[in-house]
Symmetry: C2
Subunit: 502 residues, 2 copies
């Protein structure tokens, strides 16, 4: 594995089995790479500032990778008619961004100038792919107060967590940043516009996890009384409630929460009706301005309500000046109050612990946003860099990175895709830039023929996107790249031989 | 339940929880309703002529139901400008065909004559729906030589059978007529053009069955050493090999068998690789002129070959003049020879029994086709009456009834649908008739919201079909109806309130 010399704050790790040359130079991101504050810097007794520091370094690396694209292309564009431009530009892109660009993206004549729109979209997509292949260490939240978080979660009654956030890019960091749940316990993170997941598909997910428990006792025996936990994540804006919320629900937090709660109840009822088994569900809201969550704590009967929740901004303030142990007791009490049970109620203790765990984790994120952004994000709205469709990508977590909607076909999810196209169009097209779309499918390399099968699916979805938005594509403002990927490996394979992101 | 007076040979049975008025009169089908021959009539010692007689009665009822449409519309058409036509026609259709037709299909003015194309398509679709709701007794092959066939199959090592036939209508009767397997043991019959099933989807089916075994010991315990059996069914034509075979494989029986064998091997390998478990697979070919099967008997290692099979036409001839027990011994020996093992080989005995069971069942069908059609079908080609898409309909089994392709979206299965449209177009459009398409989805009524979810899916698929074939739709030669159905109930609900098939 060849990596260039590393520098403080920008760790390098090679993706499994693949040579990765990491960009040695970034531009305009020095401030983001400042050394993180010490662990007491956030000023909240429950904030884990060392995890936040690790997350911040990762965020800075991701931001820097994308931020390097525009200045470089700005410099290259005026030189496009110079002699030997293609070769020089190619070398500069490789040196600065860490990937190759196909020659036809860089070759110009007096009558066919550089297609900067295409080149920009290519660079965004290639950067995102490179970051996936970079295989960030996602184990930052693997422990909680010194204990293995996955084991802790299981001990409190949950053997798997399935998360459905909204497709909105402001939830792109929901697992690692906002909830800080260890990926080892997360069996699925599938995004849909408005978090409107399909009940039947989630039931299939439940069945796959359950079968594994029965057949191989992984992660525990089928007879163990733990539950599969489905977390639905909606979002809203505290700064601009009536415009900055969820587009799929008319920026109405109650509507978003109500619709998602109904799906969660349907899923729970489905598991009960079909399998006579109990699944757990949890409704969580995210204030996309502060990353503070709302946890709709289930009551004694497991029921949640749109209007009954703990707002972590309040809890943050209530606990910020308490001693650490007192602050933890305060969370326990607030959760019990919200559930409407005594703090020592045995029946609800597992779910109450989990709610407290998420609230405590999120306090670290709220503290981090306060420390880094002075309370709330300056960019409250959308600044997504691309659209991701197909199977989920959660290897690269960061707020506003990608609008992501899971689908096999445009036909089934045209509404989701339309929202994403609208967002990216408004962001990019007025600036003369194209909309980059990544079609991404995973396959199980143990299944013969699986690669060919998902490659066909990827090509089909790409074609369907180009057909639906034929007019944008004709204007050159829509760029779709398709990649496939074996299992959980980080290495990607481009579906068209012409464009390999190396 | 109100049913009109029944007549010999046309039994009436009401669908669950629904009032069904069955058509009292048929036209031009008297010959088909002749009393079945006695049980010795077929002349083959292994043929179960009483099952065949039951199947023939059912076939006659289905044929008669469709055959009644055209003569009635021929009589109605010239009368369309008579006074009170809509009311009279409606009454006559109800009396003759057993369903109501929406008033707007029957109202005419001098400038807007009867849309006979639409009326015809409506009648075909409504007839098919009425036959589904008729809920035929599918238990004709529930026993084999006096024993419960489902238990027998399980005792020989198979707890579930999953069948994938080609979408070709000539395989519409594959379960009840050609293979004569009891539906109780058949967990899935999904049709695809060229029988090209999706390995991943079949793996999901395997997992659902497996989970049920582990959790509830249904139909037996997860630890019981029985297997899930996937049967892939391709087809060919003995009368016109190079034109009458499978369109998806260029009417090349070897290509069809080879492609399907590869999928079966992939599925078996996937179960092994992902779950460390053994699934059974069986490749079967059907001669659509005689309904005789080819069984590609697995060898000692479970391997099959395109070129190694038992042709049941040969076996039929070899055994037709033998005493019954000698004929059974002959089948056992032929199967063992094809497997390349001794007749008492313990390791392969379950699969060998199953192959013998299918061959013996199919001898009854070959005998029936000989008895009814003088050896081979007069209509060797396509005479499908409609296209069925969405979830499978196997309640109404009959050769050449429907071109059926399972899909959730046109996008994923456009190729399959194109083949079906081509077939029905060539059959119907030159005769001035439209192409009837039924969009059919099932839901589990125990899952809250499931009905709304599949209704959306049905509407979406209908719209996508109309969009893909917009020009045919504009010519009035494409009629798509969408219905949904709870679980395995026979009652259908039309998705558009305007058109209820009652």
């Amino acid at each position: 594995v060849n990596v260039v010399a590393s520098r403080p704050g920008v760790p390098h790790r090679a993706a499994r089995g693949r040579r990765i040359v990491f960009a040695p130079r970034f531009h305009g991101v020095e401030s983001a790479l400042q050394a993180p504050r010490s662990s007491s810097s956030s000023g909240h007794p429950l904030a884990d500032d060392s995890v936040s520091a690790g997350l911040r370094r990762r965020a800075a690396e991701i931001d820097a990778a994308f931020a390097a694209i525009e200045p470089l292309l700005r410099r290259l564009s005026p030189r496009q008619f110079e002699d030997d431009f293609a070769a020089r530009a190619s070398a500069e892109i490789r040196a600065a961004l860490g990937f190759d660009v196909p020659a036809d993206h860089l070759t110009t004549t007096w009558s066919t100038p550089l297609d900067v729109k295409a080149l920009y979209a290519h660079c965004v997509l290639a950067t995102f792919c490179r970051l996936i292949e970079r295989a960030f260490d996602r184990g930052l939240s693997a422990s909680s107060d010194g204990e293995n978080a996955e084991e802790l979660i299981r001990r409190w009654g949950f053997h798997a967590i399935d998360i459905t956030p909204c497709a909105d890019g402001r939830l792109s960091g929901v697992v690692d940043y906002i909830l800080r749940v260890p990926p080892a316990v997360v069996v699925s993170v599938k995004s849909h516009a408005g978090a409107m997941f399909d009940v039947e598909a989630t039931l299939r997910q439940w069945e796959v996890v359950e079968l594994e428990r029965w057949r191989t006792s992984t992660p525990n025996a089928g007879t163990a009384p733990t539950r599969f936990l489905k977390i639905g994540v909606y979002h809203f804006s505290s700064v601009d409630p009536s415009h900055g919320g969820c587009a799929a629900h008319g920026s109405d937090a109650n509507r978003a929460a109500g619709a998602l709660l109904e799906r969660l109840e349907q899923f729970e009822a489905a598991v009960k009706a079909i399998h006579g088994s109990e699944a757990a569900t949890l409704l969580v809201g995210v204030d996309t301005d502060t990353d503070a969550i709302r946890v709709h704590v289930p009551d004694r009967a497991g029921r949640m309500a749109v209007a009954r929740y703990i707002d972590n901004r309040d809890l943050f303030e209530r606990t910020r000046n308490l001693p650490r142990e007192t602050a933890k007791d305060e969370i326990r009490q607030v959760v019990a109050d919200c559930a409407g049970v005594a703090a020592d109620d045995a029946q609800t203790e597992g779910m109450r612990w989990l709610c407290g765990y998420l609230l405590k984790n999120n306090i670290s994120q709220v503290a981090a946003v306060q420390a880094w952004h002075g309370g709330s994000y300056a960019d409250g709205g959308h600044t997504e860099r691309l659209i991701v469709v197909g199977d989920p990508v959660d290897a690269v977590q960061l707020r506003n990175l990608a609008f992501q909607a899971q689908m096999d076909t445009v036909e089934e999810a045209a509404g989701d895709l339309d929202i994403g196209i609208k967002i990216l169009r408004e962001l990019n097209v007025p600036r003369g830039l194209a909309i980059p779309i990544l079609v991404h499918f995973q396959y199980d390399s143990r299944i013969p023929g699986a690669r060919e099968s998902v490659a066909r699916r990827a090509r089909r979805l790409k074609d369907a996107i180009l057909a639906r938005y034929a007019s944008l594509a004709a204007q050159g403002v829509l760029h779709v790249h398709a990649v496939v990927r074996a299992g959980n490996e980080s290495q990607l394979a481009a579906i068209e031989s012409a464009e390999v992101f190396a």
